[in-house]
Point group: C2
């Protein structure tokens, strides 16, 4: 079915919830080093409805663009990053999503993504604007009022993230190429909001074959230097939906 010009129709948009992990107080490097916490970028709306309020990055689906490509494009536009993990979250389409008087009804297909905050254009801490004054990062514990039903969407994305960290292998997506087990554990702790036993965490990860030792170690520590690990590409991180046909190159089990 094709929609007619000027008559009300159904607009199809793609939005993305982008998560990164940041230290809670980047402005005080010598601070007591509290746990890192989850942050996400929002964009300020520059036209009605909800003009001036913060919303998830996104936009109309382009005619020649896959859904996932659309999500990746808006992600790059807002963060100048490529996602380390990207998955469809849900399609939102209830009739009451747009305020009365809107021309078109909007159906939003929402993705969620994980990016490495270290690579991120170093946005200043709380709610301060990046070079693009209409993009800002917020802690998920301290979000402003969001446009549309985007607060519900963020809540659901958080729920999915916390669930998936427990039974999948996506935590490394917050980190760089190599990392220590302590760093990986801190990611889990920050996402789950509780501390984990280092000993048991190590065994879980090792028995899951999710990571492989690189042979290298961190240098410059004032204590026993930890081993560096790399993500094991032979195991697929998680079910990414019906697509993504489970990459399994031959690997020793």
């Amino acid at each position: 079915m094709t929609l007619h010009d000027d008559s009300p129709g159904i607009a199809l948009a793609v939005s993305t919830v982008i998560f990164a992990l940041r230290p809670d107080r980047p402005e005080v490097p010598s601070a007591p080093a509290s746990l890192p916490s989850l942050w996400l970028p929002l964009v300020r709306r520059i036209r009605p409805p909800y003009e001036g309020q913060w919303a998830l990055p996104g936009g109309p689906l382009q005619l020649d663009e896959d859904l996932e490509a659309s999500a990746a494009r808006t992600l790059a536009a807002t963060t100048a990053l490529a996602p380390n993990y990207l998955e469809q979250l849900y399609a939102f389409g209830t009739l009451d999503r747009s305020p009365d008087g809107a021309k078109d009804r909007v159906v939003s297909i929402v993705y969620w993504a994980l990016v490495n905050a270290d690579q991120a254009s170093q946005a200043t801490p709380a709610s301060v604007e990046t070079p693009d004054a209409n993009v800002a990062w917020f802690s998920v514990d301290d979000l402003p009022d969001l446009a549309f039903d985007h607060d519900v969407i963020v809540e659901y994305a958080l729920w999915r993230l916390r669930n998936k960290v427990e039974y999948s292998r996506i935590a490394h997506a917050f980190l760089g190429d190599t990392f220590t087990l302590a760093e990986l554990r801190e990611v889990h702790e920050a996402v789950l909001g509780r501390s984990l036993d280092p000993a048991n965490f190590r065994r879980q990860i090792e028995s899951s074959n999710a990571v492989v030792p690189t042979g290298k170690r961190v240098t410059g520590t004032s204590y026993r230097p930890p081993k560096l690990y790399r993500y094991n590409n032979a195991v697929d991180p998680a079910d990414r939906g019906p697509l993504a046909p489970a990459v399994r190159p031959a690997s020793a089990s």
Copy 2:
């Protein structure tokens, strides 16, 4: 964004994968009673593309209709039933979904549903038409070639169903109001494709509080009459997405 008449656009459709459980050979009542198996209704396409092939029931999203309502409507249109369970599956939107030459690109938001086969208009067994000659039920083990990417979609829906039966409480959706634990176990066995220990199954279900005894028993058996159970509405069956705010009327434990 509104699409212009006659120019190519993006069409938004809603389809539904409908599962029911049926005995494998309903035509032979005295047969060795093999395990019941999963069946689903398909509709024959009456226009190009894929004219004459079988496809999932569905259609364009109506302007004034919620996504879930659209899924329920096509479900009722093909099976004359109300779903016992209905959940969004995934949004499919790759560029190659429609054959070349199609006017519009189609994005399909797909739901999956469970219905009680006993109530179903008693369709004759394998691939024989129902009153509506363009609807037929097929065993998931013996599906015809499907239009579009519907084979991938069905495969993914099956995967979700099998997963969710294990960690959720949706199996009762295949049954009537009351049922015995043996019946519920047969549902699990049929979906998972393996037999389960009756003793352990009983304990699992009882400890989960998913069902409550009605106090009644089955009569007319030639052996010890089993108790009848009813589904416990105080526990929510599963996460149905960001909506469905977890109904939890006051309940013990």
